[in-house]
Symmetry: C2
Subunit: 468 residues, 2 copies
């Protein structure tokens, strides 16, 4: 019996080493600790460790214990993922999207798929010093539970910030969220019920479509113009036939098309909302990234039942996960829903963002990155135009940092994305942005990260792939 | 017309000052900035500011601008909340719970309602130095987007930690979450559909009940013993009549009753799960807080379809919002669901926790707080026994830091909670922990925070209230 025991233990430990729980160079748990953890005798552990030593997985170091030897098949893991991505076959949309997103953290892949600010843009020194000051000021309280509606310091700072968008909301009218996506989920849950119809832009940010599917909502597509964004006339036509519960719109620097709704369009949409009684869910995460430096107002400045949503993910630091929502009359319901699904907030993150907004030079930071994004978009657009076939069209974004490329009707962007991934370049194909699975001849390239040789080479490579 | 404009602006600004957007001592936006933000002329802003000065809300300081004067009605806000809490009438359960939770951050209220570690327990100096080191090591990358399944560093550290609970999960089998509540939501969504029956403990952690209601699930109550936790026989009986989709259980140091399932009970529950095909959702957030220092194993050590859930909220720092889930065969589905609802993780938080688990002295920290919690529970229990009528019963928790008090059958804990809140002492009444709204004669007191004169006085006060 004892021999089976130590073999079983040795097999389990070998799995843990291959799985990465114990990495090359790591000290293995002491014999005593393993005996406790695996509920076996000391001698069984010693037998198992000797077995692992014999098979070359670990080595004993005098007076120090057992260590995982390198290399331990860590390279052997790579082809699995890569092979999955390389398949030049039709892949179901959701899984292609997941495959693309799974590569975002891979440093070997040029991440045109990620609509994220470059690491170099994140004001890390300032945020680090703010974090230090907060630990000194609050001690453990900087890491205690925070309940909805969120830390008051952040709601005060956001309240001031929103004035720039023409929104007068007191701190008590604002809820902080775990980024903008949670805010979108809360807004949709508060204003719709299963089966309701929601007007969405075509194309639109894919996260909105994922939420609609998950909540059992139906979508009606409203086209978006590269210049003027949301085409209000199309919604007017739709409203003659359908009852719409909510309309999700990105009025200022639309993702992925870069458009900006003119004042008249905002006024008309606000009036429609009041006349027909639907909620406008306003996703304004790119609102402060106008390339000309102008902060364009929220639709709510012109009326309408507007739920406003913002975040610092595109401007400051996505990994802090700080967003907000101004829910108007839905405040109590949204606070209730948040208390059920995500009842506590990331206190330190909220305090860090509050301090940066209040005293960290946010406006100066925004001025710097707006110019940077404008330059990166222009250079990337130039690179696309000169590398791609003449038949391609590229938007000229007025803000934000994504390019939307439209190819001739026969072009298959999903197939293109699979071939690009095989060459270690990621991008997001058009159907991911479409409720109806259309836009097959389009794709999105992000210019959020630093522009350089590598980017140029990757665009040139995409141009060659597209020409085939 | 112009006179109406400046009056309107003055009224809006006055609202913002009363609402707290601009606090006493704050400098108001410059005339130029306000003119831009409110889209009015410079002269309109100047008129409005003069009006605010006349009404005593702001004051001009030479060469510096306008400042909000103190005091600005900030004290006038207090009675509203307090009056709401003082009402000695029947309050609907959900709203009483919200009223209790709204007081948790109020420093004037003794927070027996909050099952949270005291601020003084959070190892802030170590976490601050870890945060610094992470900024130095990763730069902006410490604040970039992280996609599910979460930062590998954290999954590796959790994978090692889980060995202590008898769980062999590789880092690739673990997903990190925004605390344990998100993990519970994901586990329930992956294993149930609307209308399904879920076995829950009575009493149980209220967050579980909120999720069940929100997901349209039905509950069947399984009693919990103060010593041995989950009463498996009751589930066996229920399974003769009903099909159960999932069973949510806190095997190690149950909240709120403090019990611990013996090995035999875990084995029987695991066998039932296999025989009847239901999922065991194991909430193990108190698992490392055994007062005797023993780490009791996960039910999965004995088999069963177990989804294991853990977090550092009760042991390290709730405000970091870091938890995890080991979903077994539901991994892909839970990753998909998380990608829809909460698609990015708090990168810095995850890195901080990973580093603390790997090299921050987590075991030493646990040894210290386990002893502290044991002492606090014992002292608080003693205080309750000597302050409350002889008819009260108090559990003797084997781990964690909550006391569960049972009064005679006629006692109304909701009324008691309302009266206690009026005296600035918070607690959670029994029906909040009951799917059927029972347990009216019980309530929970947390001993997570530092014990002292103030705690003793508050317990004495509760004793007097209870005697009435």
């Amino acid at each position: 019996m004892e021999s089976t025991r130590y073999e079983m233990l040795a097999n389990r430990l070998a799995e843990l080493i291959r799985g990465g729980t114990f990495a090359p160079g790591d000290r293995m748990p002491s014999v005593r600790q393993s005996s406790h953890e695996h509920r076996v005798s000391i001698s069984t552990v010693m037998e198992a460790y000797r077995r692992l030593e014999d098979t070359g997985l670990i080595e004993a170091r005098p007076r120090s214990g057992y260590y995982v030897k390198a290399p331990v098949l860590s390279e052997a893991r790579i082809p699995t993922t890569a092979a999955h991505a390389r398949k030049p076959i039709h892949i179901e949309r959701a899984s292609l999207f997941e495959a693309v997103m799974d590569t975002v953290a891979d440093p070997r892949v040029v991440p045109f798929a990620a609509a994220a600010p470059d690491d170099s843009i994140i004001p890390k020194a300032k945020l680090a010093s703010i974090s230090n000051a907060l630990f000194r000021k609050h001690g453990g309280a900087a890491l205690r539970y925070t309940l909805p509606p969120g830390r008051r310091e952040l709601r005060v700072a956001v309240s001031k910030r929103l004035l720039g968008a023409g929104i007068k909301a007191s701190p008590d009218e604002i809820l902080t969220t775990h980024g903008a996506t949670e805010a979108l989920l809360l807004a949709l849950r508060a204003t719709t019920k299963r089966g309701d119809l929601v007007a969405v832009e075509a194309p639109t940010y894919f996260g909105i479509l994922h939420l609609l599917r998950d909540l059992g909502l139906r979508a009606i597509e409203i086209p978006v113009s590269p210049h003027a964004g949301f085409v209000v006339e199309a919604l007017e036509t739709a409203l003659k036939k359908h009852r719409v519960a909510a309309c999700v719109v990105q009025p200022n620097f639309h993702n992925p098309i870069g458009g900006l709704m003119p004042v008249e369009a905002k006024q008309r949409l606000a009036a429609l909302s009041e006349r027909h009684g639907f909620a406008i869910v306003e996703d304004d995460v790119y609102g402060e990234l106008g390339h000309d430096g102008i902060r364009h107002p929220s639709i709510s400045l012109y009326g309408g039942h507007v739920i406003h949503i913002g975040a610092i993910s595109k401007t400051l630091a996505p990994g802090l996960r700080v967003g907000w929502i101004v829910p108007g009359p839905h405040f109590a319901e949204i606070k209730r829903l948040k208390s059920i699904q995500c009842p506590w907030n990331a206190t330190l993150s909220e305090l860090m963002v509050a301090e940066f907004l209040e005293a960290g030079g946010y406006d100066r930071h925004l001025r710097r990155i707006r110019q940077l994004y404008a330059v990166q978009c222009a250079r990337m657009r130039q690179a696309v135009v000169s590398s791609f076939p003449d038949t391609c069209r590229v938007n000229q974004p007025l803000g934000g940092f994504v390019l939307w490329i439209e190819m001739p009707a026969a072009f298959d962007a999903e197939d293109f994305a699979v071939r690009a991934m095989a060459e270690n370049v990621s991008l997001v194909p058009g159907p991911v942005f479409s409720a109806s699975g259309g836009l097959r001849n389009c794709f999105r390239l992000s210019c959020g990260f630093a522009f350089g040789e590598r980017t140029l080479d990757a665009v040139a490579l995409l141009g060659k792939l597209a020409a085939r």
